[in-house]
């Protein structure tokens, strides 16, 4: 659905070196995948979306969206993708229904009124359809902008900061709608700063700062960076147990934190029963066992920090 090969975009600056916005980006996003594109401000995320939606052209490299090549079949790309831009960019003096009708006509839909009605109803805006968009709350504006991006039923949807600036309730509404879109089998390319949101919604995540530093499922990224860790909560810890557990094949590291043992291992599903048996036989009272999950924020910050030099 989306594929890029060494996609690069440099911005020319008079009397100065060109600014690299996107460098050698290699991506392959499958149909129906919800892909999270994470990166700090100014990382080039919006530029990437603009490249992939044929709004701007690459300096070098290639990209294909829906099978159409960027720079060669731009109009076909724009016909087949939906874009939620960073700013909703609504016509504030015009009603909600008029805002959508304009775009339904620009996409030359066969039954524009029906599509407009469908999405206004789906996003709960039907009762306010005749109000000027300028009177809408921020959440409603964002929903109207999402409806606009979906009118022509695109297979690929680009969402640039879909919940940015929304209150928690509006953000939750938008998130659940994105989940629904993902369930419908649409390919979603989502730029976001909200790491919790990305963790919850995205099948895979790319961490990007002009260059792509990491790309995988949130779970695999966790493992890749931190490995898998299991925490054993004990009534008390006898220091001799640490060496006993370290001797078990597959246990990579054992650390004591208060009355807890934190074990790094490759395959907890296989090793946990053996570790529990060893501890119980040694007289340990196990209160609780759980997997230590690093947040996506930890992963993101660690990746960005590790690659800070490279992005300069």
């Amino acid at each position: 659905m989306i594929e890029t090969k060494a996609l690069t975009k440099m911005f020319e600056v008079k009397k100065a070196d060109d600014i690299p916005a996107v460098v050698d980006l290699d991506l392959s996003i499958a149909q129906g995948e919800v892909f999270g594109f994470l990166g700090p401000n100014g990382a080039g995320k919006t530029t990437t979306v603009r490249l992939l939606t044929s709004l701007i052209g690459p300096t070098s490299g290639h990209a294909w969206v829906n099978g159409f090549e960027v720079g060669k079949e731009d109009q076909k790309i724009r016909s087949s993708v939906g874009v939620l831009t960073e700013h909703p960019g609504l016509y504030e003096r015009l009603s909600g229904i008029k805002n959508l009708s304009i775009f339904a006509n620009l996409y030359e839909l066969e039954k524009p009124e029906k599509q407009v009605e469908k999405y206004l109803k789906m996003l709960g805006l039907w009762s306010r359809r005749n109000d000027p968009a300028g009177r809408f709350s921020r959440g409603m504006r964002q929903k109207l902008a999402i409806a606009r991006a979906l009118l022509h039923e695109p297979h690929v949807l680009f969402l640039d900061e879909p919940t940015s600036g929304l209150d928690p309730e509006a953000a939750r509404l938008v998130r659940s709608f994105i989940e629904e879109l993902g369930d419908q089998g649409r390919t979603i390319f989502m730029c976001t700063h909200n790491l919790h949101e990305a963790d919850r919604l995205c099948d895979r995540i790319g961490i990007f700062n002009s260059r792509l530093f990491a790309i995988d499922t949130p779970e695999n990224l966790r493992q890749e960076i931190y490995g898998r860790k299991v925490v054993f909560h004990l009534r008390f810890v006898d220091p001799t147990w640490i060496n006993l557990i370290k001797d078990i094949e597959g246990v990579l590291d054992v650390q004591r934190v208060d009355q807890k043992l934190v074990l790094a291992m490759d395959d907890p599903e296989r090793l946990n029963p053996q570790i529990i048996r060893t501890l119980v036989e040694s007289g340990a009272d196990i209160q609780f066992v759980g997997e230590l999950r690093h947040s996506l924020e930890d992963i993101y910050l660690q990746t960005i920090e590790e690659n800070e030099g490279e992005s300069q």
């Binding site: 911005f11 603009r50 939606t53 709004l55 701007i56 052209g57 109009q75 076909k76 724009r78 016909s79 993708v81 874009v83 831009t85 960073e86 700013h87 909703p88 960019g89 609504l90 016509y91 504030e92 003096r93 015009l94 008029k98 304009i102 775009f103 006509n105 620009l106 996409y107 030359e108 902008a145 606009r148 991006a149």
Partner: protein, 267 residues
């Protein structure tokens, strides 16, 4: 070129722009003033000439006398001399009105961030530009024509003779209103597009684009000073010049109105 998309852009522009009171004010108030002002002056000068028992052609530039038809009285020739100054007011309308609309329809999109979603549709840059240009130019052209129609209709009511009316409804004025006006509107809109790529807000675009009226003022002063006399030949030359200016402005407008420039450089 997809006409449906162009129509949609025109429809959108008009729906948005005409909700702006300032634009409506410019579109109604200014043409009204420009139409009433010459009528009032013609009415009073007609009265004064009657009181003075007529004004001699000796008071007019020699070059102008060729403009007066042989069957015109001296008073009628004087009225034609006066009314020719107002021709430039009617020519200014299609320049000033679209600048206000273009400033809101093009630069306004920059400030409200609504241009990017529009550019993300399958519409071509050319369609967008044509739609926006027409949306700004057409109302100005029609307002100019309607004002001229009202002006013509009101002339007999203030006692202007048929000979003078037939001069006003003659080739010089018709060329000015029907041909030169739209050409000037096109140049003015494209200048607004050009300016909009360099400035940050609609007001600045409007002010800079409004400088386009300066050449018309130049024409007005040249006429007052007797340097030129507006007749069919002058008007045809002016139209020829405007065609060249339009070609240049359209070329400049299209070359600057590139998606990438708009999105990445229009700050």
């Amino acid at each position: 070129m997809n006409l449906k998309r162009i129509r949609t852009i025109i429809d959108k522009e008009w729906a948005e722009v005409f909700q702006n009171r300032m634009v409506l004010f410019t579109m109604i108030f200014m043409p009204l003033i420009f139409t009433i002002l010459p009528l009032v002056i013609l009415y009073f000068t007609g009265q004064e000439m009657g009181d003075m028992g007529g004004v001699g052609t000796a008071d007019m530039p020699v070059e102008f006398l060729s403009t007066c038809a042989s069957d015109m009285t001296e008073a009628e020739c004087m009225q034609v001399f006066l009314v020719n100054r107002f021709l430039l007011l009617f020519m200014m309308m299609p320049v000033i009105i679209p600048v206000t609309i273009a400033a809101y329809s093009i630069v306004g999109e920059k400030t409200t961030h609504s241009l990017e979603p529009l550019l993300a549709t399958p519409m071509t840059t050319f369609e967008l530009l044509v739609g926006k240009s027409l949306a700004a130019s057409l109302p100005a052209i029609f307002v100019g024509w309607i004002s001229f129609g009202l002006f013509l209709a009101a002339l007999p009511l203030i006692g202007v003779t048929k000979t003078v009316i037939s001069y006003i409804a003659g080739p010089t004025w018709l060329l000015a209103i029907i041909v030169a006006g739209p050409l000037m509107a096109i140049a003015s809109v494209n200048l607004a597009i050009f300016v909009s790529s360099r400035v940050n807000d609609p007001r600045t675009a409007e002010q800079i684009s409004a400088l386009f009226v300066v050449p018309i003022f130049g024409l007005l002063f040249a006429q007052l000073a007797g340097v030129i006399v507006i007749n069919v030949m002058v008007m045809l030359s002016f139209i020829g010049g405007m065609v060249l200016v339009d070609i240049g402005m359209i070329y400049l407008g299209i070359s600057i109105f590139q998606r990438e420039n708009i999105l990445t450089r229009w700050k």
